[in-house]
């Protein structure tokens, strides 16, 4: 595999000295790292390390206190969340947030909305462009369901899907936006080893098929070690380590943060 690793390559995502304070508490403190174009990076750390906060900062849910988020080299700090999503950064949630009362298909169809351009008058009067574009949207949604093998559950209400499929649907919905960067917040939470294995394969597949870059938060070490090419470790909002999976896993500071100090208690 030939990968262009020239240092002049613009990373799809770069955090520069990202800081977030909630009152007196610094949840994220001067965190800097990059996600390479087409790469899968992992963000790990003990509970409360600030991982989800970083996702919320990237996607604009929280306002950044200091530092910057660069997407393809240009700052997206301070943009409205929906604009950041428009640019191609999308995410899933730690506690699944589907449109619960809608069918599987409608969940995906809703997220396809950016592929259509018809205006509200065209919609109210069902003009030709509305009909044409609605048809295209429906095809796109069905195609995505097919690729992620959710077709047979298309009419099931999202809330009634089994847990693993709800996670899968959330990823499908994110893909409906044609993202360039996908942020997965603990996608394997609550999954058994079998499902985790499946998910690992799925993440690899969708990255290739949709030519995505992925940043994943995870506690399952096998998943992180299995799919990520680069790992960033956080502890109490600060960077603890950054590098290839093997190097990080053997870093004494990381071992200490996860397992505690061996002596001297």
């Amino acid at each position: 595999m030939k990968v262009n690793t020239v240092s002049t390559e613009v990373p799809v995502l770069e955090l520069r000295g990202l800081t977030k304070c909630f009152g007196g508490l610094t949840a994220v403190n001067e965190v800097s790292f990059k996600v390479r174009e087409g790469g899968i990076s992992g963000l790990i750390g003990p509970n409360g390390a600030g991982k989800t906060t970083i996702f919320n900062l990237i996607t604009g849910v929280y306002k950044v206190s200091a530092g910057a988020v660069l997407y393809h080299g240009s700052p997206i700090t301070g943009l409205e969340p929906y604009k950041i999503a428009d640019l191609g950064v999308t995410r899933t949630f730690q506690n699944i947030r589907l449109f619960k009362n809608l069918s599987t298909r409608d969940n995906v169809l809703t997220a396809c909305h950016m592929s259509a351009n018809y205006g509200i008058t065209e919609a109210l009067l069902r003009l030709p462009r509305f009909r044409r574009e609605e048809k295209a949207l429906a095809q796109k949604a069905d195609g995505l369901l097919e690729v992620l093998s959710l077709s047979d559950r298309a009419d099931v209400t999202a809330n009634n899907l089994p847990y693993g499929l709800q996670r899968r649907l959330e990823i499908t919905r994110a893909l409906a936006l044609d993202p360039k960067l996908l942020l997965l917040d603990e996608p394997a939470a609550g999954m058994n080893p079998d499902e985790t294995e499946q998910l690992m394969r799925l993440i690899g597949e969708i990255r290739k098929r949709f030519s995505l870059s992925v940043l994943v938060i995870e506690h399952h070490m096998d998943l992180i070690m299995g799919v990520c090419e680069h790992i960033h470790v956080l502890n109490f909002g600060c960077t603890l380590a950054d590098g290839a999976p093997d190097a990080v896993a053997n870093d004494p500071k990381v071992v200490e943060a996860y397992l505690g100090v061996e002596d001297g208690r």
């Binding site: 996607t59 849910v61 409205e80 969340p81 929906y82 999503a85 428009d86 999308t90 995410r91 949630f93 947030r97 589907l98 449109f99 619960k100 009362n101 809608l102 069918s103 409608d106 169809l109 809703t110 997220a111 909305h113 950016m114 259509a116 018809y118 509200i120 919609a123 109210l124 009067l125 069902r126 509305f130 609605e134 949207l137 009419d155 099931v156 209400t157 009634n160 919905r173 994110a174 409906a176 936006l177």
Partner: protein, 304 residues
């Protein structure tokens, strides 16, 4: 016959306001207790145009829609960033403010009301407008705008992450609902031929919202069936004389207790809607059967 016709017209007029509110409350998830205010705006501006300026009724109806819509943009700017309950309280304040403002304008009759307006609304006009608005609402809900509104109702944060401009879609829903209410107000004024501010008080606003909830949030058929039943009900109970509002209240309570998701519960009376309802029912039964199986397995497992 005229009496029946009168009830049909009242149902038809209320249906327009309810459809608008259905977009806002049923599909976008914003509860309003101030849409009587938008009806009042439509009623008064249309009365000014027909009774004072002697212009065409069609113009009066359009003016009612436009003015209510424009005012709702200002209200929306101030209130749409408020979370759930606070928006609700703000709309309540708006409705009352409108009523009190009209109370103090002698030009339109003040608190005593404004009588002998021209009778311009007729049953055919109301029915045609109803059909048009049901179709328009249906088209809206089945477009990307409608789906985005439902997404905002279901899960606001996820909607934002799906690239939906939450504020804009709330605004579209609010403006449409206000314009619909404005039209209903205009038709009402020109039908009853008498308007006064208390007709559009909080009780009126609440009535509209109750109909939407009663019919089922997120269902156009529910809004239609709800309007027919709840507008006709007080007339049916008229024989009970002063007890009729008690019976009306009792009927609403009984249905809300027996069927909290509303009459239609988010489903539509269309072939595909009925199919979905049946599929959901089947899935529920299968799920019940499956969980019954695992429950017994769990019991046997707990023994060891």
């Amino acid at each position: 016959m005229e009496y029946i016709q009168g009830i049909v017209i009242l149902i038809g007029i209320n249906l327009i306001a309810v459809l608008g509110l259905s977009i806002l409350t049923g599909f976008t998830g914003l509860f309003s207790f101030g849409h009587g205010g938008f009806m009042a705006i439509g009623a008064y501006i249309s009365a000014v145009i027909t009774a004072r300026l002697h212009l065409r009724f069609a113009l009066a109806i359009v003016a009612g829609a436009v003015l209510a819509g424009v005012i709702s943009v200002f209200i929306g700017r101030l209130t749409l960033n408020l979370k759930g309950d606070y928006f609700c309280i703000a709309t309540m304040g708006f409705g009352e403010a409108v009523r009190i403002i009209f109370n103090n304008i002698p030009y339109v009759g003040g608190a005593r009301g404004w009588e002998s307006l021209p009778k311009l609304t007729n049953i055919w006009m109301v029915l045609v407008i109803d059909v048009v608005f049901v179709v328009i609402t249906w088209n809206l809900i089945n477009s990307r705008f409608g789906r985005n509104m439902v997404a905002v109702r279901e899960e606001e944060l996820a909607a934002q992450m799906a690239g939906i401009n939450v504020y804009r879609h709330k605004m579209i829903a609010l403006v449409l609902s206000a314009a619909f209410a404005g039209i209903a107000g205009a038709l009402m004024a020109q039908y009853i031929q008498f308007i006064r501010p208390t007709m559009f008080n909080m009780a009126k606003s609440t009535d509209l919202t109750i109909i939407v909830i009663f019919g089922g949030l997120g269902s156009i058929s529910g809004s239609i069936v709800g309007t027919i039943i709840l507008v006709a009900l007080p007339e049916v109970f008229r024989t009970f004389s002063q007890w009729r509002l008690v019976f009306y209240g009792l009927a609403v309570i009984l249905i809300m207790v027996g069927r909290p998701q509303g009459l239609m519960g988010g489903l539509e009376l269309t072939p595909s809607g009925i199919r979905r309802a049946l599929a959901a029912r089947k899935a529920k039964l299968e799920f019940a059967a499956a969980t019954a199986g695992t429950a017994s397995a769990g019991e046997s497992g707990a023994v060891k």
